[in-house]
């Protein structure tokens, strides 16, 4: 009876925090949290007091002051009278451009190499193995420097294009100039364009042409998706899939082409004027070196991921699909790939993140990315180490989180439904 009473009304004792399994995990977590926060507080406090001793304060006002330096690759209007903040934005854009083109080429190359490494052709498979082992086992910085010096020393100097009998000539019907200062390619121009639109009290401009073209193109792809959905519905109702490829092709390309014609699309070609080529898009040698090096290096990792993804799908799947009479290319698209992607995509994200973060090696070849502008020249000219580094780190963190959010969303959307 008395025992029963005790059981009904358990009195809380302090020791229960440690010995009662109901509280133990919570109390340990609270202790750990207190410890963690006091450590953080101590670190911050120590930093602040040390800064105070050396007479420095935390001050971000330099971001609105004139930067006084020039940046060569500018995606927005910028000169040496612009602010440090704007220089940082240009740096971010340069980082994003490099990461974007790097991720695209690394994926294409990686998928190709990964599949080719599984080839039954002995020579092809071995060559791909060598590719992977070479690129992933040598530090990235060395590849960047090697490719930079190859570009700088092996391509012709602009002045060699000059004269009646030039040493070097432009390639592809005189439209592309490959020089040791970078590659000049034709740029798209519009004789009848809509002009630019200013944002944030004209602090930057975006071409309206670009917005319209993108809008029409995305609309076309959406319409093409609708056609596909309709074809699927008809197939499910009647068992016959209507032929739609010409419809979809037309829907995607005809509106965009019509728009381009309306805008008066033409190509601006690079031309040798003065010391350098003028006109066209200038892909600087630093960008090219980084692009090639980052793509090759990351492609080696992606190739291994693709290979492991494909090998993860058991052979029985292929055989079972074959037994059902499904054609080999359809087996790849509808049976193997959906299952392989499940294995491929998550590690792919971390490789995209790696590529983005590795792009901060850009300063080695003088590419003006975020590390070069904000965490490089601005840091040096203003002496605000802590501020610029904190800001730079939080920007990298934001970019990385955005990339993984987008790909996780894609992964969930295309996730296979398992029964």
């Amino acid at each position: 009876m008395a025992q029963h009473q005790d059981f009904k009304k358990p009195t809380f004792e302090l020791s229960m925090l440690l010995y009662d399994t109901r509280y133990r995990s919570t109390s340990f977590q609270v202790i750990a949290l207190i410890f963690f926060f006091s450590l953080v507080w101590w670190l911050v406090n120590n930093t602040m007091s040390n800064l105070a001793i050396s007479g420095k304060d935390i001050d971000f006002s330099f971001l609105v002051h004139e930067s006084n330096y020039d940046i060569n690759q500018r995606l927005l209007e910028y000169d040496s009278r612009s602010s440090h903040g704007r220089a940082a934005v240009l740096g971010v854009l340069n980082t994003l451009v490099l990461s974007a083109i790097g991720c695209i080429t690394a994926t294409i190359l990686g998928v190709f190499v990964g599949i080719a490494r599984l080839s039954k052709n002995w020579i092809v498979a071995r060559i791909m193995t060598v590719h992977i082992e070479i690129f992933r086992n040598v530090p990235l910085l060395l590849w960047i420097l090697l490719i930079m010096s190859m570009v700088a020393h092996s391509f012709p100097v602009p002045k060699h294009f000059r004269g009646a009998d030039p040493i070097a000539t432009m390639k592809l019907f005189d439209s592309v100039a490959l020089t040791n200062r970078g590659f000049y390619i034709p740029e798209p121009l519009f004789s009848n364009g809509f002009g630019d639109m200013g944002f944030f009290s004209n602090s930057f401009y975006i071409s309206i042409d670009l917005i319209v073209i993108l809008a029409i193109f995305i609309g076309s792809i959406w319409a093409s998706g609708k056609i596909k959905a309709r074809a699927k519905r008809i197939q499910e109702e009647t068992g016959i899939r209507p032929t739609t490829w010409y419809l979809r092709l037309g829907v995607i390309f005809i509106p965009t082409i019509l728009l381009l014609v309306y805008l008066g699309f033409y190509l601006g070609y690079p031309e040798l004027k003065g010391f350098n080529f003028k006109g066209g898009i200038h892909l600087r040698n630093s960008l090219i070196a980084l692009w090639i090096a980052l793509s090759l290096y990351t492609s080696a990792f992606i190739a291994e991921i693709v290979r492991s993804g494909i090998l993860a799908v058991s052979k029985g799947q292929t055989e079972a699909a074959g037994a059902l009479g499904i054609k080999p290319n359809v087996i790849m698209a509808l049976v193997i790939l959906p299952q392989a992607l499940k294995v491929i995509v998550p590690p792919l994200i971390s490789n995209y993140l790696n590529l983005t973060k590795n792009s901060s090696l850009a300063i080695a070849v003088g590419y003006m990315d975020l590390t070069g502008t904000l965490m490089g020249i601005t840091l040096n000219q203003t002496g605000r180490e802590l501020e610029t580094l904190l800001l730079g780190m939080s920007i990298y963190l934001t970019i990385s989180l955005l990339i993984s959010a987008v790909i996780n969303w894609y992964n969930r959307r295309n996730d296979m439904v398992e029964r």
Binding site: L39, L43, N46, T47, N50, I53, S54, G55, K56, N68, Y69, D70, I71, N72, D79, S80, R81, S149, A152, H153, V157, K159, N180, R181, K273, G274, F275, N276, K278, N285, S286, I363, A364, V365, G366, M368, G372, G376, I377, L379, N380, Q381, T382, G383, E385
Partner: protein
């Protein structure tokens, strides 16, 4: 992983805290070696020779400070710094003194919390081009590609110069001057710009120096000198007066050869006596012994000798004294009196 990161951060902060507490002089004496920030390699200013011993004009200043403080000009650990890392290295206590062709500017002195201790080289920014480019003035450089080192005053002067003259250029930034020189030699840029002394130094290392010319325009004032952190005035005084001793020694005719003789017994000239410690107690005021200036001059000679050995017309660099002559010879070198 997380834990080791924290421990690393703790350790780093702890170390930073200790460096801030003791005076630099005591610390250097306790360590027995002077940490001197230098460049990653500029011929004539700081470059290791065939025996891997650092030699040069900026190196000589560090050796003189080491001689004054530690009694041994070789007791110097040279820490190569880039244009970007030099001030962080100094501020964090990694180096005790920075002697690295660093331009004295307002914002560096005031905002970066640095102390400049006089000028050991009066320089100005110039442009070097291949003679084959057919350019005779920097104002003809519209549209040219220019190699520069990031994090330098050069970069800012360049932007100003082209802006003021209303011409355009394409900057090619590099982290180290060696990379700039390599790109310039590969003709990946038309122009190489840095301080005129640096251009002369770079040209001396080229296979064919005569194929390159330095354009007549000098677009900036670049007073270069040794730097220390704000807040340790005694250490600052030692660096400042070591440099002044080198300059005064030339003016007073004290050389590496005769310094021992001058220090042995009082001479007719009271200022020499005060410097040599045979009269008065200047060394004691500085927190050093009486012979400090003797050792400074015995290390690599006086300012004139150091210039002659590392930069002068008889060296690869081949620079004239120009602005860096003594004030008595029409130059700008003017040491305050030892009194």
């Amino acid at each position: 992983m997380k834990k080791s990161l924290f421990m690393g951060a703790l350790l780093a902060l702890g170390m930073a805290a200790t460096t801030l507490s003791a005076s630099t002089l005591e610390e250097v004496k306790a360590r027995g070696i002077l940490n001197c920030g230098t460049s990653t390699g500029v011929a004539g200013f700081s470059l290791p020779d065939a025996n891997n011993v650092y030699q040069g004009f900026d190196v000589a200043v560090c050796r003189a400070v080491a001689a004054a403080v530690l009694g041994d000009p070789m007791a110097v650990e040279f820490v190569p710094t880039t244009g970007k890392t030099r001030f962080t290295a100094l501020a964090s206590g990694e180096v005790d003194v920075l002697s690295r062709t660093t331009t004295w500017t307002f914002s560096r002195d005031v905002d970066l919390k640095l102390d400049f201790h006089g000028v050991n080289y009066y320089d100005g920014q110039g442009f070097m081009v291949p003679k084959s480019l057919g350019v005779t003035s920097a104002k003809d450089l519209d549209g040219a590609t220019v190699c520069i080192q990031v994090g330098t005053t050069t970069e800012l002067n360049l932007a100003d110069f082209f802006r003021v003259n209303g011409i355009t250029y394409e900057p090619v930034p590099t982290e180290k001057s060696s990379e700039s020189r390599s790109l310039y030699q590969a003709e990946a840029c038309d122009v190489y710009t840095t301080d005129a002394s640096g251009l002369a130094s770079a040209r001396s290392t080229f296979a064919d120096p005569d194929a390159h010319m330095i354009l007549p325009e000098i677009v900036s004032k670049e007073p270069l000198g040794p730097v220390t952190r704000h807040g340790d005035n005694q250490w600052g005084d030692i660096v400042r007066w070591t440099l002044n001793a080198l300059i005064s020694a030339e003016e007073l005719g004290i050389t590496k050869a005769n310094v021992a003789e001058m220090a042995a017994a009082p001479t007719n000239n009271p200022e020499i006596n005060r410097m040599m410690g045979t009269e008065g107690n200047l060394g004691e005021m500085l927190g050093l012994d009486a012979d400090w200036a003797v050792r400074v001059i015995a290390a690599e000679g006086n300012y004139g000798e150091i210039f002659e050995n590392h930069l002068g017309p008889n060296t690869q660099i081949g620079l004239e004294r120009g602005l860096n002559a003594q004030w008595t010879d029409g130059g700008l070198l003017y040491s305050p009196p030892f009194r």
